[in-house]
């Protein structure tokens, strides 16, 4: 498949993401944020990092990059779009996903292995992984504390939009297994139309032979199956 990974000024996971996509045999392009052509992708990934230095609010300024108009148009037409970490923050700031990523409850930058649980298979990003599957996918962020108002949370639950929750090794979801204070242990969500994923954990950091955990590959494999 054709994958476009967008590089913003301050992105720092773009090349990792690019490498993982390439290693899986996909025709992958790095697209500079000032470009206006996504180059006909099947999948667009907004990678992690610190676009625009996290100035004002994380992800708030990236939406003024020229390429983001194309990304929004692509997603509105049903194209598959994934935002990882800072990419997730950008998607909420663009209004493509509901809610906000706020500062972690303990105010720390947290960089660690993290278990997350697949909450639904009803998405191109999780189909085939198995509901309840526990995956070890690292997190690295200071603003990953997901917040949405009570009505919004009700909608997320009613529409089965919560794809991943933070959990422990056994899959238990509680305060102890919540690293950053996220509401309802939310680690990743999709939009109502189910073609846009935002997640704080980094699947691209756990998808090659060189790292100790490889669970991120489940997500790449799910997307590959969905697009086949």
């Amino acid at each position: 498949m054709r994958i476009s990974v967008v590089t913003f000024p301050g992105s720092n996971c773009d090349y990792d993401t690019y490498r993982v996509c390439k290693s899986r045999g996909h025709q992958t392009k790095l697209i500079w944020h000032k470009d206006s052509d996504l180059e006909k992708p099947d999948l667009v990934i907004l990678p992690g990092g610190f676009s625009y230095g996290d100035y004002l609010r994380c992800g708030a300024l990236a939406r003024f990059s020229p390429i983001v108009h194309e990304v929004i148009a692509f997603a509105r037409k049903g194209g598959l779009l994934v935002g990882i970490c800072n990419g997730f923050q950008i998607l909420t700031e663009c209004g493509l996903l509901p809610g906000t990523l706020m500062m972690n409850e303990n105010l720390h930058f947290i960089c660690q292995h993290q278990y997350i649980r697949v909450e639904t298979e009803a998405s191109p990003f999780t189909q085939g992984i198995g509901k309840g599957k526990v995956m070890d996918i690292p997190i690295a962020h200071k603003e990953g504390n997901y917040y949405i108002d009570p009505e919004g949370l009700k909608q997320l639950i009613a529409n089965d939009q919560i794809l991943f929750r933070y959990c422990d090794k056994q899959g238990n979801i509680n305060i102890a297994s919540n690293p950053n204070g996220s509401l309802d242990n939310i680690a990743g969500i999709c939009n109502k139309q189910r073609n846009i994923l935002g997640m704080m954990p980094h699947p691209e950091r756990s998808a090659t032979e060189t790292v100790p955990t490889k669970d991120g590959r489940w997500i790449f494999a799910a997307i590959e199956n969905a697009l086949e």
Binding site: M103, N145, Y147
Partner: protein, 83 residues
């Protein structure tokens, strides 16, 4: 010259971990009367336009379009004249 003084604050029902940490520190310093601290952003903006109404409308839009995240933040501002 007109200047906007803009405050962007977390909504009252949104937890403010920074404010909480500051309150804890103040308690450690002995300021035990402090009940709550809320951290907000203060932004100053100068305008090349002396029409107060026009500037005010623009600041309103600026707050909505960029400065505040409507999910979690509210804003208020005042427009002042400056030499």
């Amino acid at each position: 010259m007109l200047k906007a003084k803009i405050y962007v604050q977390l909504k009252a029902n949104v937890l403010d971990p920074q404010g909480k940490a500051v309150t804890n520190s103040l308690h450690n310093l002995g300021y035990t009367d402090v009940i709550e601290t809320r951290i907000s952003k203060y932004i100053e903006m100068s305008f090349r336009n002396d029409n107060r109404e026009k500037v005010s409308q623009e600041v309103e839009k600026i707050c909505q379009d960029l400065l505040a995240n409507p999910n979690t933040e509210t804003y208020q501002y005042e427009i002042i004249s400056e030499e």
